[in-house]
């Protein structure tokens, strides 16, 4: 029975969030305190679950042979820790930021609920549980997207919903066939064993469908268009978690399906792998180019997410250990960085109301801490040593070179490097203009606009985290190797 305790981190935020939706008489201060308390307890609980790797619990059977089943493994716990940490930081940031938006209570309620659902997603032990939480995540995150209630937000929300549901059904379509041909749907490292028989092509098509289906959440071409509409319209802390965390669930889904259900042997060398690699590389290049051309700051960051997440996808598609390590490192690195960048953008919008990149001249003089953080995070994302981006990209490139797949072993690293250059091209001008506005800049209108401490501190912590992932990558890689060892 004690095993059921691993579900507390799943239930707690959902219950707290639901309560928050229904308790009217709560002033803002107590509400914020409650939210931060729940987030902190949640973080502690998830860290405690680290010691319970291998714990499993089966709740009930949905239909024949389809139990709702949770199991904690190394991969799940890694994602869960990333999620709670970033959720806590973005949560603290949101207290100040949300002051200029309405309906704070609704926002915080759903914010907590999404976290619970995400933790459930991490701990899901089989495909049907995973799918359940995946759909619930789509639904609970929806109010965050349309929070402002403007027409633009609603339209973007619709787009988000259609793409997400469509993607989930793509995955579900594959799921039906896997259910027929696989021995079980429980996530087993290295694959569950597929008795394809003469239907190998059919199952490969299913695998591709599931990759594309989960790829929707990860913003992979051809179903990426929702991401760049939906992420920028949400309030900044919500965009930060949407872009930093929720896209990662698509990655988690892909890992679970390919590495834990089909098994890498089944996919390696097939057309599925080729298509997957091509789509990922295409997205990397396209995302960076679009970001380079984009004028709105938040939208530029969203395009950057499209590109960066496909780095991870590319790493996964190579199906070798080095690239897998690179991918998971990039998950952590990008989680911290993109969340930080969005929070910085949020701080700028909150204090100055400026949304376009061109308007940000001299911003570094007005809010130095925020722009310093922004700069460091940009450098991390580009991959300039000694930051986190370098290590993960290094592993990704090494993985590609090692893979020995014709064309892609060279093309991959080339595209990754070109994209890194483009990343520098779209992020650094903000810093440059911000700190060096040029001779003709009028310094007289300069005001001190540094935001409150509840905004700067999470930003600084995230920046530190992003650097930390780079500097102390060895223990992380050792940890990822324990995941790899199970395959």
């Amino acid at each position: 029975m004690t095993e059921a305790f691993i579900l507390i981190p799943v239930v707690l935020p959902i219950v707290a969030g639901l309560l928050l939706e229904f308790i009217r008489k709560l002033n803002k201060k107590t509400m914020n305190l409650c939210v931060v308390a729940v987030l902190a307890i949640e973080a502690v609980l998830v860290f405690m679950n680290m010691g319970k790797i291998g714990a499993e619990v089966e709740l009930f059977e949905l239909t024949d042979n389809l139990p709702i089943y949770f199991k904690i493994d190394n991969l799940g716990i890694m994602f869960a820790i990333l999620m709670v940490v970033i959720w806590l930081l973005a949560g603290i940031f949101s207290f100040e930021y949300m002051k200029h938006e309405d309906n704070e209570r609704r926002y915080q309620g759903f914010y907590l609920m999404v976290l619970g659902v995400l933790i459930g997603l991490d701990f899901a032990g089989n495909l049907v549980t995973f799918y359940m939480f995946y759909e619930m995540m789509t639904i609970t995150a929806f109010p965050l997207v349309i929070h402002t209630g403007k027409k633009e937000a609603t339209m973007a929300g619709l787009k988000y919903l259609y793409y997400s549901l469509g993607g989930a059904y793509f995955a579900l379509f594959g799921f039906y066939f896997v259910f027929k041909y696989a021995d079980s749907l429980t996530f087993t490292p290295g694959g569950v064993g597929i008795n394809a028989g003469s239907h190998e092509t059919l199952l490969l098509i299913c695998a591709l469908f599931m990759i594309i289906g989960f790829g929707v959440k990860a913003g992979m071409f051809p179903l990426h268009a929702w991401l760049t509409s939906a992420h920028p319209v949400a309030p900044a802390p919500a965009s930060a978690v949407l872009s930093g965390i929720i896209v990662k669930t698509g990655i988690l889904g892909t890992i679970r399906v390919i590495y834990y259900i089909f098994g890498t042997k089944f996919i390696r060398g097939t057309f599925v792998q080729t298509v997957w690699m091509s789509l990922a590389l295409l997205t990397v290049l396209m995302g960076s180019t679009m970001a380079y051309k984009e004028k709105l700051l938040k939208k530029r960051l969203a395009y950057s997410t499209v590109s960066q997440i496909s780095y991870i996808m590319f790493g996964l598609s190579l199906l070798n250990e080095t690239a897998f390590e690179g991918s998971l490192l990039h998950v952590l690195m990008h989680g911290f960085t993109k969340c930080g960048l969005f929070l910085a953008a949020g701080a700028i919008i909150y204090k100055t109301g400026k949304t376009k990149v061109d308007e940000l001249r001299g911003i570094g003089k007005e809010m130095p801490i925020v722009i310093w953080c922004f700069t460091i995070l940009s450098i991390t994302l580009i991959g300039i040593p000694p930051t986190g981006g370098l290590v993960s990209k290094w592993y990704l490139c090494m993985g590609a070179l090692k893979s020995g797949i014709a064309v892609f072993d060279i093309l991959g690293p080339v595209i990754l490097i070109v994209s890194a250059l483009l990343t520098a091209g779209y992020l650094l001008p903000i810093t440059i203009q911000g700190f060096f506005p040029g001779d003709d800049y009028d310094y007289s209108g300069l005001e001190h606009k540094e935001p409150a401490k509840t905004m700067t501190i999470p930003l600084i912590v995230l920046t530190a985290g992003a650097i930390g992932v780079g500097l102390f990558s060895t223990p992380i890689i050792t940890y990822i190797e324990t995941i790899l060892a199970t395959f």
Binding site: D64, G157, L161, L165, F173
Partner: protein, 496 residues
């Protein structure tokens, strides 16, 4: 406990007599009689279900103590008792949810008539579920049609009269075909009692004596009942009938009446024609194709609608298509999925109608999408109810709709020949469902500057309670699906 064997008979009779008695009662007394009789039948069905679970035996009740070929029989197995219980629950919720609207929309002198019609409707549904006699089934099909017409027409305006006439024409055509089918069956077998017919049919089939009449009979029976349950392309009456009648009627018609006919069809397949014979005839493929067509066409019609009630009505066409698709797959597992979908759709569709009425109430009575903007904030519980119903229809896990889609897909995967079309259409139709239901949910939760009338839960306690029951029922079906599936499976085995 021989006494319990009388319960199916009691259920039908209580409902029928309370209808007759209501004619001379006052309006209030009729209302209470209606409520109490549904509750009593609910309770009787629950006891019966529990009893059959315990003994595992089928109850066969001889009407008037006449033995088989001459007498009339009632037969209750697990499935029958459970369906009676379920139908009573939905009936109860539909009545309480639409009570206030009924008061407003129907002239006072006709309230009595309304309760009479509802009682008769319930009696005929129960009889369709329990009877073991094909001709009795036909009689109650007609009673059902008449009371359904009355339920549509009770709210008197031009649209409802037109709708009732359309419904009557289509429905009587269906009854006619059904009657012809029964006549032909009587002609070639010489029996009216279901079990006897099946023995005769199986010997005829193995002897191969009447191949053409048998096929024609199957066509007539299937076609007649498909017409009455609004399978595409016989669905044209649906939008008006569900769209303009008073909300309780719409909920009852969409979730119970059409389902009653499908239950009768399933009964005919198992207990009259025999599953193997039915499967060997190629009618099943035709049913499958029309089911698929209905899944797509119903949703497309719904997408084009600009009126929330008519949209929900067209969505019924799509859902009926799912059920026929399951029947068309022609396996035991697919049949379980179909019956599960009957339950899940009945629970969800009535919920959507009840939710929608709350939303239109706070939008100046208009049912058009422009006016509904933001109504989810003005009437919170109705908004939540509608949203939950929509999510269930789209097939989001947690709610009942997901399980039925899962069951359909699993059943489809087991049928190699029909797998691909079934899965592809299932996927397309799911996305189409998402398009129109999500569009509506977003519409009702889009804030507006316009301040409309607001209704809180405290103002409409009964309505709010009904909504909560609906949500609980939906989540219950969605979460505890395994026992329900087991029960359906055991019930189907008892059928044969």
């Amino acid at each position: 406990m021989d006494f319990i064997c009388n319960f199916p008979f009691f259920s039908i009779m209580i409902s029928m007599f309370s209808g007759i008695v209501s004619a001379v009662l006052s309006r209030k007394a009729a209302k209470w009689l209606n409520l109490i009789s549904i509750w009593v039948i609910w309770f009787l069905s629950a006891v019966l279900l529990y009893y059959i679970f315990g003994t595992g035996e089928i109850i066969v009740y001889k009407m008037g103590h006449f033995p088989a070929p001459w007498g009339n029989e009632i037969r209750a197995g697990l499935l029958e008792a459970g369906l009676a219980l379920f139908f009573c629950s939905i009936m109860l919720l539909s009545m309480t949810g639409g009570r206030k609207k009924l008061m407003g929309e129907v002239v006072e002198e006709k309230h009595n008539l309304y309760y009479i019609l509802v009682d008769l409707m319930l009696a005929s549904l129960l009889a369709l579920i329990y009877t073991n006699d094909l001709f009795t089934a036909y009689v109650f099909v007609e009673i059902n049609t008449i009371s359904a017409c009355g339920l549509i027409m009770i709210r008197q305006n031009g649209r409802t009269i037109e709708a009732a006439v359309r419904y009557m024409i289509m429905s009587l055509l269906g009854s006619g075909l059904l009657l012809m089918g029964i006549c032909m069956l009587y002609d070639i077998t010489g029996h009216l009692l279901m079990s006897n017919i099946r023995d005769a049919v199986s010997s005829i089939y193995s002897a191969g004596t009447y191949p053409v009449p048998l096929t024609v009979t199957i066509i007539l029976l299937t076609c007649g009942l498909a017409m009455k349950s609004a399978l595409f392309p016989f669905h044209t009456w649906v939008a008006d009938a569900y769209g303009y009648s008073t909300v309780s009627s719409a909920a009852i018609l969409s979730s119970l009446v059409s389902k009653g006919y499908i239950i009768l069809l399933i009964k005919i397949i198992y207990r009259v024609i025999g599953f193997e014979v039915y499967r060997a005839s190629h009618i099943i493929d035709v049913v499958f194709v029309f089911g698929l067509a209905g899944m797509i066409m119903g949703s497309i019609s719904a997408i084009r609608e600009n009126d929330i009630r008519r949209m929900i009505a067209y969505s019924s066409v799509a859902q009926i298509g799912y059920i026929y698709m399951g029947i068309g797959l022609g396996t035991r597992y697919a049949m379980i999925a179909s019956i599960f979908h009957i339950l899940s759709h009945a629970a969800t569709k009535s919920m959507l109608f009840i939710g929608a009425i709350g939303l239109t109430d706070v939008s100046k009575g208009s049912r058009h999408f422009e006016e509904l903007t933001g109504s989810g904030y003005r009437h919170k519980i109705a908004g939540i109810t509608f949203a939950v119903g929509s999510l269930s229809m789209v097939g989001i896990p947690l709610f009942s709709g997901f399980i039925s889609k899962l069951l359909f897909a699993q059943a489809a995967v087991l049928n190699t020949r029909k797998m691909l079309p079934a899965l592809i259409v299932l996927a397309i139709s799911t996305i189409l469902n998402a398009i129109y239901f999500m569009k509506t949910v977003i519409r009702i939760y889009t804030p507006t500057e316009e301040e409309g009338e607001r209704i809180t839960m405290k103002q409409e306690k009964v309505y709010a309670l009904t909504c909560i029951c609906f949500i609980a029922l939906n989540i219950f079906i969605g979460m505890c699906s395994q026992p329900i599936v087991d029960w359906i499976g055991a019930g189907i085995d008892m059928f044969a």
